[in-house]
């Protein structure tokens, strides 16, 4: 697939996301003219570009949808539920078509597509018939707010001055400005002056950049909005100003043309000021106030604030505020940074061995710079949560409609940033949790009212930073999870003994066990008993955790905690015998020394630290490490969820940045839950990275977390 094609697909995906957001907003306030404009524009662009790339099926859908939205835009019909549903269905097809490269996977899809196309076409027919029935004598109300005059006389010719300044990257969007100018010619009598002052020396010309701009004079009976439409495709990539300069066909006036010719070759070039000045002096009678006021009005077509990365700060200097980078390149960069960190460890080791002051200082400075580089690179790879929030909006809308439940879905903290590789793997688990909330959590309106709640259910999704982790919380005010029922179910399924004592919290956490589902009847959406265990597994693969908290008839809260980055962690390097271990720094509180003979003198695996009793985890014993323990050992206290434990190791080497590597085939074997992974040390040996959270849990014998 060539790069243009790829770019097209990327763009379509972006458009579809924009479209979905706009439609979801429109559903709340269908009168919002701005959004309707936006939808229309996107449809128009989609139609054009998809036809260009041979995606005729997308073209067909958007072609008729565009017509419908044009009707809405011109306020000839209102945005109905039916139209919205048609649009949403089309969006789904566009997504499929993008994934499958313009092929419909099955016969069933083909049929659905045909039906959808037919219903859209029918809608268009109905609209057109209705509209032609409405008396055509009614005056056209022009769309643009700046230009709210009612044109009574169709034949009235006015002259416009159009400044068309393409942005440098216009050509790369596949738009040819000359075709647009041709289109302007088609609207009436036209005179075009070229500005080529910005063309650099031949050697510096980049063949993909557009350096030219045009001053166009047009005498036409068309509306200003019609002229603006010509430039629709270039809208995001040009500065366009359209001014009405006279209420007459000025281009018949040779003197005016002559003057403009003169102006176009001087340095300042043609400008609105010079035109009005000339017209003012040329007209015997003073220009009418109205006309002047008219001249000041301008339609500046700018792109809407979008998350699109290719934004032109201003037409004068093409400085980019942000750029779009392929994920793959970021991955490559992160890999190189990781390699560098491993190299740095080698350098530091080498510097220690060779007592050269200069080498040591180089190594230290290199280390400092590398830390900055690492932090920067990590930041570059962060993506705001918003990017997946819109998907959830859509899901909640569709599902609650299907299940006929009235649900308000709100999100907050969309600006919270997470590593992109985490986000990619996060959307499925969250979708599943939301499905559960909608399907099992929120009751139908009648039940809710019976239980003294509002008829409308609420689901709230928020993301925020805390404790150096990202937390994502999904709250609903539904019926909650009943620990009693979970217990019964678990006993019935043989997961639990009847005699096993279980707190309510532990009972609720049973839903994370494989094959557990309390849904009375299996529905299309959830309740097949695959799910919560898979969700937990997915989250744990991302080195995250998931908790659940629920009160019957009050609702359920799911909390997901995730690390900020997957690949690089700050840790403390410790040794037990000659094996190196890395403990993530985020969990470490303090370090102490302890005499070896004190360890086993402690009662019940407790040591006294700062006057309090703390349970300890003796690494040598737990990991069956052979060899003689030193007389003085080190304690590192770790706090995890308010629980403090003491980890006893032979000695602490120091702070250590480590690049986390998966354990490969080791990771799939059992008994490795206590390890996050491994890291390569400066001397090429492998150190194991401990999962401090899991160690605390194991030590405190919490089976059901």
């Amino acid at each position: 697939m060539d790069s243009l094609h790829e770019k097209f697909l990327e763009e379509v995906t972006e458009f579809v996301a924009d479209l979905e957001n706009a439609l979801l907003e429109l559903e709340k306030n269908p009168e919002n003219q701005k959004l309707i404009e936006k939808v229309f524009r996107i449809m128009h662009t989609l139609k054009g570009t998809s036809a260009m790339f041979g995606f005729d099926k997308i073209g067909n859908l958007t072609h008729d949808l565009e017509t419908i939205y044009e009707f809405i835009r011109e306020q000839k019909t209102a945005l109905s539920e039916e139209i919205l549903s048609l649009t949403f269905a089309s969006i789904d097809f566009i997504k499929i078509l993008v994934d499958t490269n313009n092929e419909l996977p099955t016969e069933e899809y083909k049929l659905k597509y045909e039906t959808l196309l037919f219903s859209i076409k029918r809608k268009v027919d109905i609209l057109e018939r209705n509209h032609s029935a409405i008396a055509e004598t009614a005056n056209d109300i022009s769309v643009s707010a700046e230009d709210a005059e009612i044109v009574l006389d169709e034949k009235k010719i006015v002259t416009y001055y159009i400044q068309f300044i393409p942005a440098g990257h216009l050509l790369t969007t596949g738009v040819n400005p000359l075709y647009m100018i041709d289109d302007v010619y088609a609207l009436g009598e036209c005179k075009v002056f070229l500005r080529n002052k910005n063309v650099p020396d031949l050697l510096q010309i980049q063949e993909e950049s557009c350096y030219l701009s045009w001053d166009i004079f047009l005498s036409t009976s068309e509306e200003k909005s019609t002229i603006a439409e010509v430039f629709l495709f270039a809208e995001d990539a040009c500065t366009l100003k359209i001014h009405k300069i006279a209420d007459k066909p000025l281009l018949q006036d040779n003197a005016f043309i002559q003057k403009m010719k003169e102006l176009s070759v001087v340095t300042e070039g043609i400008s609105l000021g010079s035109i009005t000045a000339y017209l003012h002096s040329a007209s015997k009678e003073p220009a009418r106030k109205e006309e002047k006021a008219e001249a000041k009005k301008e339609v500046v077509v700018e792109d809407e604030p979008k998350v699109s990365l290719s934004k032109i700060a201003s037409s004068k200097n093409n400085s980019l505020t942000s750029i779009r980078v392929a994920s793959r390149k970021l991955d490559e960069m992160m890999n190189v940074v990781s390699e560098l960190i491993t190299m740095q460890a080698r350098l530091t080791l080498f510097a220690e061995k060779n007592n050269s002051a200069e080498l040591t200082s180089i190594a230290e400075n290199f280390d400092k710079l590398l830390r900055q580089l690492r932090d920067n690179s990590l930041k570059i790879c962060l993506v705001p949560m918003e990017t997946i929030f819109s998907r959830f909006q859509r899901l909640v809308r569709d599902l609650s409609k299907d299940l006929q439940k009235n649900i308000v879905f709100s999100t907050e903290g969309g600006e919270t940033e997470v590593d992109k590789s985490i986000i990619e793997n996060l959307s499925d688990p969250i979708l599943h949790l939301l499905r559960n909330s909608i399907d099992h959590g929120i009751e139908d309106a009648e039940t809710r009212i019976r239980n003294g709640k509002s008829a409308q259910g609420k689901i709230h999704l928020k993301a925020f930073y805390s404790e150096g982790m990202v937390q994502i919380v999904i709250e609903d005010d539904g019926k909650g999870i009943d620990p009693k029922r979970i217990r019964e179910k678990a006993i019935e399924k043989g997961i639990l003994n009847e005699t096993t004592p279980l707190t309510d919290k532990e009972a609720i956490n049973l839903i994370f066990l494989p094959g557990f589902s309390t849904a009375q009847k299996v529905s299309e959406i959830s309740g097949r008993g695959v799910g919560m265990d898979v969700v937990r597994q997915r989250i744990e693969e991302l080195r995250g955790e998931i908790y659940i908290d629920s009160k019957v008839n009050k609702g359920t809260t799911m909390t997901i905690k995730l690390p900020l980055s997957l690949s690089i962690i700050d840790g403390i390097l410790v040794k037990a015998d000659d094996t190196c271990f890395v403990i993530p720094l985020s969990a470490v509180d303090k370090c102490y020394e302890i005499r070896h003979d004190e360890i086993h003198a402690g009662f019940n695996d407790l040591v006294i630290i700062d006057g309090e009793q703390v349970p300890f985890y003796y690494l040598r014993e737990e990991f069956a490490i052979s060899g003689e323990a030193p007389a003085i050992e080190q304690i590192i206290t770790i706090t995890y969820e308010g629980q403090k434990i003491a980890l006893i190791v032979d000695r602490i080497v120091g702070e250590y940045q480590s690049v986390l590597k998966p354990l490969g085939a080791m990771g799939i074997s059992k008994g490795q839950e206590l390890l996050l992974g491994a890291t390569i040390m400066g001397d090429g040996t492998v150190a194991l990275v401990l999962d401090s959270g899991k160690i605390v849990k194991q030590l405190l014998h919490k089976v059901f977390i």
Partner: protein, 167 residues
């Protein structure tokens, strides 16, 4: 990796104690010198540990233990054969492991006809692992079905039984 289509294949032979085994070279990535192997706690007995393979972590399996022999300390001749193994569980997925062997012998060619099925008697190994034997002078070389020997399912199954045994 189908072997039916090509009758002559190359094999890498290696020694464990006095026995000679062979693996299809298509499964072999490279042969490594033995560096420092880091032990992994709670790992099954045949897992020697992990080592550094140019910046990635390579799990090393002690092939002697895997085949039920007694483990020995590494010698001058010990090598790690890096193998790519198809994971049966998920089609198209591969894992890379290292197999610690006493010494690597040679790469030789053999045709399908020369490989005889395993005699039913007197073999100490799990017959599933052996594809056939090949007689060279006095020696029998045993052809391994590498994917089976080191398949991930094997690892996991063995793990759970090991755990039970050691618990």
């Amino acid at each position: 990796m189908s072997t039916e289509s090509v009758s002559i294949q190359s094999y890498l032979s290696f020694k464990l104690g006095q026995e000679i085994f062979a693996a299809n070279v298509l499964t072999v990535n490279e042969v490594l010198e033995v560096g420092k192997i880091t032990k992994v706690p709670h790992a099954p007995a045949f897992m020697r540990g992990v080592t550094n393979l140019r910046g990635t972590v390579l799990p090393v399996i002690d092939t002697r233990v895997k085949f039920g022999m007694t483990p020995v300390a590494e010698t001058q001749d010990s090598c790690i054969i890096v193998l790519t193994i198809a994971q049966n569980a998920e089609a198209g997925k591969h894992i890379v492991i290292g197999a610690l062997v006493d010494s690597v012998v040679e790469v030789f060619e053999a045709s399908q006809e020369q490989i005889k099925p395993l005699p039913a008697m007197g073999v100490r190994y799990n017959a599933n692992f052996i594809k056939g034997t090949f007689k060279v002078g006095e020696d029998f070389i045993m052809f391994l079905d590498i994917d089976k020997v080191f398949s991930s399912e094997e690892l996991v199954v063995l793990n759970s039984s090991e755990e039970v045994a050691s618990a």
